[in-house]
């Protein structure tokens, strides 16, 4: 007899419920910690440059993935850059409609080679691919040393 068979009556089915109860606290690590502390205390960005290929990474990484070398050269970066791409979201991550659309962008700070994801603030009408954007930080007292110390980026 076949292993798989169609169940015709729903009440036949037994479902066993369960979950995977986990809570994670991720250390940002010895490379990212100075980056976040500088963002929190001074509101400034720094990237790191590979001594071999010259790629500037922000947020910084311990090593250049292409050259597989440690990177130690810090590079101060401005708080503005280019919007490499963006999308306008109308639903949240659980599939529920948002009360207001959210704009998410890939921002490459001037002088950096790697973009990162963050919010774009304001009206979607004012956003254009390739436009200049500048950072809007939270007030210093509200900054904790995380990417959310940045409220978002605004078209310049």
């Amino acid at each position: 007899m076949a292993v798989l068979r169609k169940r015709n009556r729903r009440e036949d089915q037994i479902f066993v419920e369960g979950n995977i109860p986990m809570e994670y606290l991720y250390t940002v690590g010895p490379t990212l910690e100075p980056f976040f502390r500088k963002l929190k205390d001074k509101g400034e960005f720094n990237g790191v440059k590979c001594g071999r290929c010259g790629t500037v990474y922000v947020p910084p990484s311990l090593f250049c993935e292409a050259c597989f070398e440690k990177m130690t050269k810090n590079v101060k970066l401005p708080s503005k850059g280019i919007l490499e791409s963006y999308t306008v979201a109308h639903y949240d991550h659980l599939g529920e409609p948002l009360s207001k659309p959210e704009i998410w962008g890939l921002i490459r700070l001037d002088g950096a080679d790697t973009p990162f994801v963050h919010r774009i603030l304001g009206d979607p009408k004012n956003v254009e691919l390739g436009c200049q954007v500048k950072v809007k930080l939270k007030a210093k007292a509200k900054r904790t040393g995380s990417m959310n110390d940045i409220d978002g980026f605004v078209p310049a």
């Binding site: 292993v3 089915q13 037994i14 419920e17 369960g18 979950n19 995977i20 109860p21 991720y26 940002v28």
Partner: protein, 166 residues
């Protein structure tokens, strides 16, 4: 071997001070029991332990499954087994499921169900002095009252020593 080894260990105090991000995933499931376990759990609701026989190797499989993993054929010859068995192995646990310390120990055991040739399942022992449990001890299931059974492994409360409790 070189002398310097990389790694930045943190003691618990430094861990508290280190910058961290937090994440609590929501991972909730409703697993369908499938062809074989559906029937097994229904059997438990009815107060019976069911097994399934492989027509090729003739093993009585409990917990039952839709196919014999040794012969690799589908199986469907259901058998009702007794609700008695033998303790194959046991532990005396002072940890609960989330690793909290508990004073009154939990007594998990693998119970070989009578008539199943040594096959059986994980369950708990009860009404027994932990110091007196022995591998090979005969046990009998203690069931929840019929109205409280819902088709779950916990329809059996625990297994107790078969001869009047110890």
């Amino acid at each position: 071997m070189s002398k310097e080894y990389p790694g930045n260990p943190l003691n618990s105090k430094d861990f508290k001070k280190a910058l961290k991000t937090k994440y609590v995933p929501t991972a909730e499931y409703a697993w369908s029991a499938g062809h074989a376990i559906n029937r097994f759990l229904t059997g438990l609701k009815e107060g019976r332990i069911l097994g399934i026989k492989c027509r090729s190797c003739e093993r009585i499989l409990v917990p039952p499954r839709a196919f014999c993993e040794e012969c690799f054929i589908s199986v469907d010859e259901w058998v009702e087994l007794k609700d008695t068995g033998t303790v194959n192995t046991f532990a005396i646990s002072y940890l609960d499921t989330m690793a909290n310390r508990i004073k009154k120990p939990l007594l998990p055991a693998v119970i070989e169900i009578d008539g199943a040739g040594g096959n059986g399942f994980l369950h708990m022992l009860g009404e027994v002095d932990p110091k007196k449990i022995k591998i090979g001890m005969k046990v009998k299931a203690v069931w929840k009252p019929a109205k409280d059974r819902k088709g779950d492994i916990t329809d059996i409360k625990y297994f107790k020593p078969a001869r009047g409790g110890v």
